[in-house]
Point group: D3
Chain length 260, copies 6
């Protein structure tokens, strides 16, 4: 789309979607671009789906180089510092604010970005006046998402879900023969501290062991991946429909919108 | 404690606790220092309690000037930008890392800091090698905490809980006659977007209306505040006991520690 | 490629290629992503070609959000400030330096990045020790590249070359009916000041007129685009072969390498 | 005070006082929080005293984490870098400027902050338009303050005055048995270079010896501390009265104000 | 010139010239201030010459401390980082923008600054609205300038030209007995990569050998220096005349201006 | 001096002197470069004098663009922000630290830099290990220097002393017919707040009136200027002799050095 076309196609009701991924260590069985592939694929399908049902929504090229500092120790990880990452997000927000659109949604495939994206959402809201949102391509277990039984709620990186998703999306990039279960089971011993528990903690992915995987990819399958993918797309499309009408100041227009 | 005393008293097992509050608008009925008062009081009592039960834990002076950008529009709010706030947290982490202690726990009374504290925890972990943690003085509803029925899960700022807590801790600072219910009930119409829902959003406290309060302080009481306070102290003390032994790399020493 | 695979596949002789593009105004006839499409396509083909002839060369995902400040006035342009952009480039260099590879080549499709990329090359060289290079996807007229006669050496943005390239690569994204000649002919009156002349000047793309195009896209064709593309790929592949053996400290190994 | 109350209570004649202290090494006999205790105590008493005599003056919570880089070598010191510290001060100034008040006075207990506070005063004046001031809780000898004879004008850190003040304010935090005289007497040999002399120099507190104390605390007493404290409070209260009416552009209103 | 005089003497047609040099290693035979001496001398003579022919042009004191990071390894080099250097240039631009003048020309004697100056020109144009320009005191071979035959186009630092210029300007600062030929001849083996070739590269001056000189100063003479100097002054004066009337938006006033 | 010569000439006993001036408004009668002229002239003469008496001391080119934010309102002032200025000073310190010399003395002609120079001295001491010093070219009245009776201690900018100095050094740049007395006499009404008093304040030079001059230049003369200049040179040369032997850790070598 050209600049001129963009300006006439967009209105204050338009939702701009930025997929945010990562290029980072995901164990020996998954590609470095796992998060980016998932974020891009879910975003593409969800935006298409939402647009098909009448939502005024547009997808930006994905952001591949992000804040993967938890994997900085692993060769092949590309990571930006928190300040460079925040500046990038806020300046992208500034650029969106120069279009007629007033809503910016990050569709995030990289769990390590969640907290910073929330900080960025507020900053862009304050500084540039946009309504801002964070959607998860796949809600991670430590942020309320589902978890396979065998992972004990600990499948946050390179585990069953991500591996299945990539088996569905890009099977040629997965080498399941290298997949190894790496679940820090002892974390379940703690009542307060842990993924998604009341006390969060600052971790690097090699704090739990040398593999850097946190989860159990061994049972992954393309079928499960397809199911997860379809669910994610459906959920994100429905969420985008809400994002398009969300109004913190008052009732949603035209009755409650209970997508999904 | 002098520098010399600190150096000899601290060991790699010591937990350093930094209460983080805010000086920010909390409606006409609450003092600007609400979050600071709560964070300091809970931290003081929880650290005393944990120390009394043998945990090697130390409390720093609280951090009052923090990232209250969501209330920047309200006169009397003191807010630091995200970069200044992050630098402050990371440099405090650097200073802790220069002592023998290896564990730093933020005990947070200001919901608007939660995301940035998580970013800081990882940065301090990577840069200075400390184990880092975030505890909530009172877990807010949008982060999994309880919510009074009348607040519909929306009592995130200046509502029943915070008001009751201050009525318990510093009743002379509360003017309940000015308390007004300000619950953005329409948010419950959304399935995906909202406090603690799958899609987070960037908000300023006046996005929901001019008062800047989000909750219903009208039914607050010192009794409820006392109960909330005691629960928070008990929970934080137990969590600090876990923080003191938490080891991401392996089983907790001396059997699972199920405090509380 | 996984992190583990990357680590074993890469050696100190490997060349890492980062395509750098832009999302910016290119007139009404071209898509915002023009530079990104060209950089990605040339990089993909050139890296494949060089690899096929035995060069140890690898392509990173392209960088789409860059320093397009000269088009900041045009809705739809996404631009980062110089400091954010430099930090991003240097931190990507830091990440490359954590792999076994020692050579990083920017393959640039966005003229507005050329100067900053040179600054970044030196900084990454000094700070992280890599050998660093800048290749042009298509050498712009103001940096020594060819120029169609009708453009008087002034076809630097959205003109004959870029339009032809996109007509070749992604014809569905071009609307040639909107293409308008916009050549600032008066610049040829100056002997010293001008694109590629002895005196450079700081310009915004709307300094020359409201369209923001600088060149004459009206005669563009897919055929010309294909020819330009093939030439660019051939040139870049040959250049990458040199990059792989370039040694500032002494003679090139195995005799002069006159690729191409 | 609530935001609403603050807004109505403050006027352009109000003076806002920010006590600035430090958490830093003060020798084995004094607590790390020495400067903070003194700044807070003097500020509290001086503001009360000034307010009682009709000055419209308000005290903010103290700033404990400051620029203590001269003691960075000593475990237990918490120090912020100059850029973080300046940003913090300027952003606090921005927050004050969002209230009706137009005067901000730093009441400083940490000599190592004096120069930066002056820089901040000018920046806040230029950027946010406030009248800004620096008061010393206790004027240090190197900035014109009194000095006990035995300290030869060199009692700038942890010496007779600070020790006496803490003996008065918080005797339980002092262990006078650990106090050792540490006066760098040779500094008196220099005519130009030295504390408070024509040539200032950049020093770290361990440049003068391993103790980090610069002064002679051995003769300290609570009586002396009380006298110093009362003098400081009296002086600061009188100074605040001047601050409230100080006008660089013209004569002070209602005749010369010679407080004290 | 006083501020008052400056304000009345300057108009929107005035050109402000800032000579930019360096204090950096130039081999054993040349002074550290070589670039500064050349920039200042050329600027002084060229501005005088242009002014004498009626151009409204003014010279600022030269900038001596610049981005000499390519010589950071050599004792005696003074170098600023890219961010400090950019900030300095942009803030000087801000100060010029506060005068009536609207044109700022950098007259650069230090090749290592060329790229950053171009970035600064655009930033100052966008942020402060000035017309901005970069002139070379002596166009270096890698930027299109002439080169002595014996240097093979590689005389970019401390070679024939710079040495001759200083022999002309300040012969007492040159020790020709220490001059050694240091031409990286192998660079001519490369078709693409090299000074002024299609592929630029990030280099430090000791990448080519321990001397840090890149060129052949052995044949330098004051006569050649005088000739080079006069040519440079003549060219810069003529270029300044163009700078004074350059208008990107339309034809040059009063017919084409072909100075020189 | 070449890099090689510098390295062999300098030792750890060498003192490096950096004159720091300003380009800023000094009233209608004085040139913008007043501070720079004075700093350079005093530094040149004092360094020559000290060197002649055997002190190992070297002068750097002066720093003309500095932190003149107090005159930012006056056209013709060139000012850097505090962060750019600090970075510049610290990076110059880094460059000195890469030579054998271990002592860096700022010889300052611009009162508005005094506080920041002190901050820089400590930062360079901590970060780069140099001994650092600030000398005043002419000690200003607000920093303990002398003051003509008619100026009431308020001659801090463009007054009798600076005007006399320039009349001595560069009489052709002074237009005494434009000199106007501009002494804010009401400042003497304040006991605590004022130049050089116990309470410092943040001021801009137009806070005292529109002229920006603070002092009384009307009685200035070249004779007085010569006397002031000679005194300053004598004092600075003697101070540099002390700087060369100053040792915070112990007695000065070879007996007390009472220069002057």
């Amino acid at each position: 789309m050209s600049s001129v076309a963009a300006t006439s196609a967009l209105s204050e009701d338009s939702v701009i979607v930025l997929p945010t991924g990562a290029i980072e260590h995901h164990g020996p069985h998954l590609p470095l671009s796992t998060d980016q592939l998932i974020a891009d694929a879910v975003a593409a399908a969800a935006v298409d789906s939402a647009a098909a049902s009448g939502v005024d929504v547009w997808r930006l090229p994905g952001l591949a180089y992000t804040k993967s500092d938890e994997h900085h120790w692993a060769s092949g990880t590309f990571w930006l510092g928190w300040d460079t990452m925040m500046s990038t997000l806020v300046e992208i927000g500034r650029s969106v604010a120069a279009t007629p659109a007033r809503r910016l949604a990050f569709l995030n495939g990289h769990g390590g970005m969640s907290a910073l994206l929330q900080v960025a959402c507020r900053e862009i809201r304050r500084l540039h006046g946009l309504q801002t949102f964070v959607l998860h391509a796949a809600v991670p277990p430590d942020q309320g998402g589902p978890s396979a039984a065998g992972e004990l709620g600990l499948g946050v990186h390179g585990g069953l879900q991500e591996t299945s998703m990539i088996l569905h999306l890009r099977p040629e990039l997965v080498d399941l023969s290298l997949a190894v279960r790496s679940v820090p089971e002892h974390l379940t011993d703690y009542q307060y501290v842990g993924f998604g528990k009341a006390v969060s903690f600052g971790w690097l992915s090699n704090d739990f062991g040398p593999s850097g995987v946190i989860g159990d990819p061994t049972g992954a399958s393309a079928e499960r991946g397809e199911e997860l993918f379809e669910t994610a797309v459906h959920r994100c499309a429905a969420a985008l429909a809400e994002v398009a009408v969300f109004d913190p100041a008052g009732p949603a227009p035209v009755g409650p919108r209970r997508a999904g």
